[in-house]
Symmetry: C2
Subunit: 182 residues, 2 copies
């Protein structure tokens, strides 16, 4: 019997100079964009996802919000969190695990996940390096912030992408969808 396989999918916004957050994690430059009334497709994207993988940074940022925004199971990859308790209000919705990207995907696939939302700069980079990302929706925000947490990082070899579509929004956001080739 073949093992079940899950694919990784990215949906993320970056500054025009490639950062997903300032050095301290702030996304004020993103929240300041005049996007009222625009549908960037996030809900439609999420509706197609069976699970979500993120790192500690993203988890701690999101866990600080009043409402937990995710309806799918969340796997937080963190050596630091794995010995700690999931906050009571998130039990059953969040798990901490110290797993490499392929092992995390195998676990989620074994549980029935087919499409996995992969979020956060370091996690996206690690999953890209392991060939676990099928496609990426990247939304470019029209601002240069100069420094911060980059979306992309080292790659072992060039990663060719197939451009699928690009959408432009009145706010100036430019959203492109790429399939990861090979």
């Amino acid at each position: 019997m073949e093992e079940p396989v899950a694919t990784g999918h990215v949906f993320i916004a970056t500054s025009l100079d490639g950062f997903i957050a300032r050095p301290d994690g702030a996304i004020d430059w993103l929240l300041a964009q005049p996007v009222a009334g625009e549908d960037h497709g996030y809900d439609a994207f999420m509706a197609g996802m069976d699970a979500l993988v993120m790192g500690r940074g993203t988890f701690e940022a999101v866990a600080s919000f009043e409402d937990w925004p995710y309806g799918v199971p969340v796997l937080v990859l963190s050596r630091q969190l794995v010995g700690t308790d999931v906050p009571a209000r998130l039990r059953g919705r969040v798990r901490f695990a110290d797993l490499a990207p392929a092992a995390a995907m195998a676990l989620l696939a074994a549980e029935g996940a087919v499409r996995v939302y992969v979020d956060g700069g370091r996690v996206v980079q690690a999953f890209l390096r392991e060939g676990l990302i099928a496609d990426m929706v990247i939304t470019r925000v029209p601002v240069l912030i100069g420094a911060g947490r980059p979306l992309f990082g080292d790659v072992a070899r060039d990663v060719a992408l197939d451009h699928q579509e690009t959408r432009v929004f009145p706010s100036g956001l430019v959203q492109s969808r790429y399939r990861v080739a090979g």
Copy 2:
């Protein structure tokens, strides 16, 4: 009498991860794109330029080509080259100068230039920091190369951009034009 003013304009291609060249300057990843038959607007852009400013790296790369590609006067900003002779075949077309961005623009404006093509990563970054760039045409190439010479660098404060238009090419290149706000 008011001093004449020139504006800086950028037309440049980057990998999806924001590099204009590999660490050694190679652009094989760019030249490998299947762009035959596509008009990315470079000739039309150049036709509107009165002069070109670049750094030593860009100059040395272009000077190694068999044919000198530029019809407009080229100002090479380089402390290292300023004491050296311009190659004989480029005399009258190229000058070396050790000038700060604003002084370079003032010189070109005094000579009658109105629109100046600003090329090369470090030079673009320096002119952006000085508020000397009016607009940028950035062409995203659908490949991640992981490391190299970045288009953008530090900024003193956020640089807001106004998205003007985006064009998509069959090769997968996505070209956006931004006006630098304020």
